[in-house]
Amino acid sequence: MSHSYNTTTNINVGVYEESWWIQTWLSPLEPHRRHDDVSNQRVGSVGNWVLGMSEFESWSAGPDGTVNPALICYGDPGVGKTYIR
């Protein structure tokens, strides 16, 4: 009984490890880490106005083929700095 349990565990670890190797082979980048950091540091309702812009709504919700697929947001890094510091 304990033998078959060990066998199952080894197979699962093997599958997990292979999947990890393949993912790392696809790309060494791990962007979810940066995302979690930025997400956790975001303050209050900052930037919410972007989500209400008509450009954002058309871009995110428009049916395929009826809207341009790209949305570009541009601005100086740290806009609003002059008011606060």
């Binding site: 599958v15 292979e18 999947s19 190797w21 393949i22 993912q23 082979w25 696809l26 790309s27 060494p28 980048l29 791990e30 962007p31 979810h32 940066r34 995302h35 930025v38 997400s39 540091q41 975001r42 303050v43 209050g44 309702s45 900052v46 930037g47 919410n48 106005w49 972007v50 989500l51 812009m53 450009e55 954002f56 058309s58 871009w59 995110s60 395929d64 083929g65 809207v67 341009n68 697929p69 790209a70 949305l71 570009i72 947001c73 541009y74 601005g75 100086d76 890094p77 740290g78 806009v79 609003g80 700095k81 002059t82 008011y83 606060i84």
Partner: protein, 201 residues
Amino acid sequence: MLTSNEISSLVIDTLRDQTRGQSVAVLGLYCDYQARGEQSAVNMIGGLLRQAIWGEAGIRGEIRSAFNESKRRGGQGLRMPDMLKLFVKVVSSIDRVYICVDAVDELLPKSRLEFLRELRRITQDAPSTRLFLTTRPSIQSELVRQLRGAPYVIKIVADQGDIASYLTQKIEDDKAQDPDSMTEDLKNNIIRTMLGKASEM
């Protein structure tokens, strides 16, 4: 301050919340000047592909065979044409795919041009894909040119709500250090005054 990566993370989180349970993938990348060496175009598309297959029960057959094939040839990474083929195949099986890339201006110029060209090709080959890009103003017109057509454009500015949020946070931080120095009245006064100043500019 209101930074592009805050906007990007907000857009990513919002799209994920709104589409939970649907056949939708929200893929995010943050370009970083300090990581520009490893942020080549092919690694960037690979980073998107990793996220697109995230949470799937097993590795897809076509990816596994590409991996085994590369192992036979000595273990090199995928080249761009093969990477693109895999990526388009995977995202074509998803109803809607949002690709969000923060601070495109921080990539090496050569990587940036290649990456933008491939992103445009992806939106053509897989019409269910949408691109969200943030950048400094200096290369905004280059992005518009590279992507062709007329992409949507939003200028990032700090609005009054943003400024009030930051001020509140900053005051709360100070208060935590010295609780007696800040009364509720003083706090509201500061925020009102600062917002008044901001609207005069």
